[in-house]
C-alpha cells in the first residue's frame, strides 16, 4: 500500500551502526566517498570493497535489503559500462565491431566504474538504512549549525526536511484518494500514449496542490499556536551524544584513508 512507503528505507534493528551519532555517520559517508573516488588500482578497490563488506556486516541489515537498492541503478550502470567500454581508445585492441574498438584499457575502466558505482550506492544507502529520518535531520541541523553564523538557515532547512518527511505518507494517502475519486468519475490513467497519460495527471495534480497549500496554511497556524518562533532559543528532546563508538568509527575512517594513501605510495614506488 501507498501509506507503507518510507523514504530512505530505514531498517529498524539494533547494531553498532544504528547506535552511532547521525553526525558521525554523515561525516563517515562523505569520508567514504572521498576514499572511493581516490581508488584506482585493483588493490585499492579490494580495500574499499573489503571495508564496505565489513560495514554492511556490522550494520546487521540483510544483504538482500541493500542489493534491492541497486535495482533502480541498473540502467545507469549499464550505460556507464557501455560508454567506458566503447569510448576508450587507449590500450591494446581486443576486438573490433563496426566503428567501435574494444581495448583492454576500456574493459578495465568499465569494470572499475561499475564496481565504484555499486560500492558507492551500497555504502551510502547504509546511512539511511541505519539512521531514522528524524535522527538524520537532527544530525544535519547540528552539522550545519556553525554555518548559521554566515547566514545559512540551518534550523529552517532541518525543519523543512522533517516536515516534508512527516507529510510524505499523508500526501501519498491523499493522492491515492484523489486517483480513486477521479477514476470513479471516469478518468482514465492507464491508456493512451505518453502525452495523453501526462495530461491525464492534471486532474490529480490540481486538487493535490490545492490540498497541500491548505494543509500548509493550517499547519503554520497550528505551529504558531504552539509558540513556534524559529530556531532561536529552542531546545530538543532528542539528544545527540558523541560516544566511544563514534570515536572508534572516526579512527577506522582515518586508518582507511591512511591505508589508501599507503597503497598509492607503494604503487608509485613500484613504478619508480
Amino acid at each position: 500500500m501507498l501509506r507503507d512507503i518510507t523514504l530512505g528505507q530505514y531498517y529498524n534493528t539494533s547494531s553498532p551502526l544504528h547506535d552511532m551519532d547521525p553526525r558521525t555517520k554523515i561525516l563517515g559517508v562523505i569520508f567514504y566517498m572521498v576514499v572511493l573516488f581516490m581508488a584506482s588500482s585493483v588493490w585499492e578497490y579490494a580495500l574499499a570493497a573489503l571495508f564496505t563488506a565489513f560495514v554492511i556486516k556490522l550494520s546487521r541489515v540483510p544483504i538482500s535489503f541493500i542489493t534491492r537498492g541497486l535495482k533502480p541503478l541498473v540502467m545507469i550502470m549499464g550505460f556507464t559500462l557501455a560508454l567506458n567500454l566503447l569510448m576508450t581508445s587507449t590500450g591494446n585492441e581486443l576486438f573490433h565491431w563496426w566503428i567501435f574498438r574494444v581495448t583492454d584499457d576500456g574493459v578495465a575502466l568499465a569494470v572499475k566504474m561499475a564496481v565504484r558505482l555499486v560500492l558507492l550506492v551500497m555504502g551510502t544507502s547504509l546511512l539511511t538504512l541505519t539512521t531514522s529520518p528524524i535522527a538524520l535531520t537532527g544530525g544535519i541541523e547540528r552539522l550545519l549549525s556553525p554555518l548559521s553564523r554566515i547566514g545559512v538557515p540551518s534550523h529552517e532547512i532541518a525543519m523543512m526536511m522533517s516536515i516534508a518527511l512527516r507529510f510524505i505518507p499523508t500526501i501519498m494517502e491523499e493522492t491515492d484518494k484523489i486517483i480513486k475519486a477521479q477514476t470513479s468519475r471516469g478518468a482514465d490513467f492507464e491508456s493512451g500514449n505518453l502525452i495523453q497519460r501526462v495530461k491525464a495527471m492534471i486532474p490529480i495534480l490540481v486538487p493535490l496542490f490545492a490540498g497541500a497549500f491548505r494543509r500548509a496554511d493550517e499547519l503554520a497556524v497550528a505551529m504558531e499556536c504552539r509558540c513556534y518562533n524559529g530556531g532561536a532559543g529552542r531546545t530538543s528532546l532528542r539528544e545527540l551524544r558523541f560516544r566511544r563508538i563514534d570515536a572508534m568509527a572516526l579512527i577506522v575512517g582515518v586508518v582507511l584513508l591512511a591505508a589508501m594513501i599507503g597503497l598509492k605510495i607503494l604503487a608509485a614506488g613500484g613504478i619508480a
Binding site: 497556524v221 531546545t235 528532546l237
Partner: protein, 281 residues
C-alpha cells in the same frame, strides 16, 4: 478568566466589508467547560481564534488571564496558557514520531531536556497514548492522532484548551475517545475547556452552552436549560440531542412524559416514569 468586551471582527471580501460579529461580550470562568454552538457562519470559529491571538480584535478587547491579546510582546505567554486543537489531526502534527510531536511546543519554549522528557511522558499518560510514544503518527487512527495533538498542548501546561470542532473528522469511536479525554482534563486537572462543536450530544456534556447566530449570542445557559427549548433551538438551525428530541416528540403527540432529558438514560427514565404514572392512575 477569559473576557471579551465589545469584541467586533470583520473581513473584506471583494471590496465589501463582511461583519463576523459585533459587540460581543463573553466571560469564561476558570475551570469551566463551555460549548460554543452555532451553524456555519455564526462566528463561533472566528471567536475561538481570538482567544489565543491567531486573530486580534478589530475593535473591543480580549483579555486572557490578564493578558491583552493585542499585546504582541506577551504573545508566547498567552499561547502557552491557551492551547488550541484543530479539526484536522493530520494538519497539526509536526513530527514523524509521536513523542517528538508532543515535545514540539516545549522545544519552542526552550524547556530543558530532563524536564521536557518528564512533561512529555506525563502528557502522553494523561491522554493514554504512552504506549504509542515511538509510533509514526500517520499510522494511528483519527481519535489517537487527535489525542496526540491534545497531549502536545497539554505538555505546555495550559490553563485553558480551545478545541475547534475536534471530532468533526473522526468516527464514533474516535469521537468518544476525544470527548472522554476532554472531560477528564476538565474534571481532574481543572483545565478550562472551550469546545466549538456542532454535535449536540457533545454539547450536553458541557457545564454551559453559548449559542451563536449571525455574530450574536442568542443563548447562554446550561444545556439543561437550553435544549428542552426544542423549537427555539431548531429555529437557529441547530439540532437537539436525540434523547431530548424523543421525549419532546412523545409529549407533542399527547403523551404525558416529562421533557428535558439530555442523555438516553434520562429519556429511558422519563418514559418509565410515564408508564408508572399511567398504571397508578
Amino acid at each position: 478568566m477569559i473576557k471579551a468586551e465589545n469584541l467586533s471582527f470583520s473581513y473584506e471580501s471583494e471590496g465589501a466589508e463582511v461583519k463576523v460579529f459585533e459587540n460581543l461580550n463573553i466571560e469564561i470562568k476558570d475551570g469551566e467547560f463551555v460549548a460554543v454552538l452555532g451553524h456555519n457562519g455564526s462566528g463561533k470559529s472566528t471567536f475561538a481564534k481570538h482567544l489565543n491571538a491567531i486573530l486580534v480584535p478589530k475593535s473591543g478587547k480580549v483579555t486572557v488571564y490578564g493578558i491583552d491579546t493585542a499585546d504582541e510582546s506577551r504573545i508566547f505567554e498567552l499561547r502557552k496558557n491557551v492551547g488550541m486543537v484543530f479539526q484536522n489531526p493530520d494538519n497539526q502534527i509536526v513530527a514523524t514520531v509521536v513523542e517528538e510531536d508532543v515535545a514540539f511546543g516545549l522545544e519552542n519554549l526552550g524547556v530543558p531536556r530532563d524536564e521536557m522528557r518528564q512533561r512529555v511522558d506525563e502528557a502522553l499518560n494523561t491522554v493514554r497514548m504512552y504506549g504509542y510514544r515511538k509510533h509514526a503518527p500517520h499510522l494511528l487512527s483519527g481519535g489517537q492522532k487527535q489525542r496526540v495533538a491534545i497531549a502536545g498542548i497539554l505538555a505546555m501546561e495550559p490553563r485553558c484548551i480551545v478545541l475547534d470542532e475536534p471530532t468533526a473528522m473522526l468516527d464514533p469511536i474516535g469521537r468518544d475517545e476525544v470527548m472522554e479525554t476532554i472531560r477528564r482534563l476538565n474534571r481532574e486537572k481543572g483545565i478550562t475547556i472551550v469546545l466549538i462543536t456542532h454535535y449536540m450530544d457533545e454539547a450536553v456534556k458541557a457545564d454551559r452552552c453559548i449559542v451563536m447566530d449571525r455574530g450574536r449570542i442568542v443563548m447562554d445557559d446550561s444545556p439543561q436549560n437550553i435544549f428542552p427549548r426544542v423549537e427555539e433551538v431548531r429555529a437557529l438551525g441547530l439540532d437537539v440531542p436525540q434523547a431530548t428530541e424523543l421525549v419532546w416528540e412523545l409529549k407533542r403527540r399527547g403523551l404525558n412524559v416529562e421533557t428535558g432529558a439530555l442523555r438516553s438514560a434520562q429519556a429511558v427514565e422519563a418514559i418509565l416514569k410515564m408508564y408508572e404514572n399511567e398504571r397508578t392512575k
